[in-house]
Subunit: 190 residues, 2 copies
């Protein structure tokens, strides 16, 4: 998606440690007009996949998951990063190592929100090493649901997670694929 | 909003400890078609308030904040519950006691996303004692931004937070106001 690459070039910022800061439109301040178009594009890419649900892990992918689900006309399921007081006891869980935060957490979702026969699209803001997607893949497998693919706003292609998933036959559509970053430039794979 | 009351009655569930479980449409599984209408209603209520930004604290209000911002045509700002690797060092913070989780956390948002002159609408899924809104009010005050009001999906009116805010002259619009709950019924204030 040309518009995503342009947005990264005009509004993004490269910080030390291979961090691409896009907080002013993607995940801290949300440019909702732009993200509505992103959601439509993600929906268009998976229009013929028979998606019944969109899924994401809280928190930074929630807005995109919501807008993609809106464009597809299906519900979105938000996987939590911890148990809460309101949480059902009947849950699926997966332990996930966070690349961004250098820790690990237990992803948890109530069983009632994922059914056998569901065709599920994973939506997220970033794909780096792919740990979050691996965790969701495990949860979907336990639920007997089908993973139809992953729609990602920005893939850090140089970290290899997307290519590893593709090599296993998983459909991964990233609206921008960053091949390399330096202090003053971002190069995309096309 | 009649539709919100009906949704609570048909899809909600009262759990011990005054917990109203609405995870199947509001904050775990999102009924995005319904929430799109909720966002439009929140936008309609504040249509003449000159809103320049919608704000919420992650994570359960993000979908509603996104959809209300979409209907208003303005950005949404997501306040984080912890510092992250990608976080700017120039931030506003507030310490907030969580009624749901029985703990406290530091809300944090980069200064660059809130400006003097911003007219800000707080959006959230629940209002109980009002601690999250107090924290956001402090942050907006430090930023020199104006709080135009609060748009809430479900107010637990019996916990008093909404009435205390109204008594101070803050405009609080709740789409459903729960006056009392028991195992088998929910009574609304009108």
């Amino acid at each position: 998606m040309k518009a995503m690459e342009e947005k990264i070039l005009t509004s993004g910022k490269v910080l030390p440690g291979n961090v691409l800061k896009v907080g002013n439109f993607l995940n801290q301040q949300l440019d909702v007009n732009f993200l509505t178009e992103v959601g439509k594009e993600m929906a268009r890419l998976f229009a013929d996949a028979g998606v019944t649900k969109v899924i994401t892990i809280e928190a930074s992918g929630i807005a995109l998951a919501t807008l993609t689900a809106q464009a597809l006309g299906v519900p979105a399921v938000i996987v939590k990063k911890h148990f809460s007081a309101n949480q059902s006891k009947e849950v699926y869980t997966a332990t996930i190592d966070s690349f961004t935060h250098k820790n690990s957490y237990t992803a948890v979702v109530a069983r009632e929100y994922l059914n056998e026969g569901d065709r599920v699209l994973i939506v997220d803001d970033f794909l780096a090493v792919g740990n979050a997607i691996r965790g969701l893949q495990k949860i979907l497998g336990e639920a007997g649901a089908t993973l139809v693919g992953c729609a990602i706003a920005i893939e850090k292609a140089f970290q290899g997670g997307g290519d590893a998933l593709r090599a296993e036959g998983i459909r991964v559509e990233s609206l921008a694929m960053v091949e390399s970053m330096s202090d003053d430039s971002v190069t995309f794979r096309r």
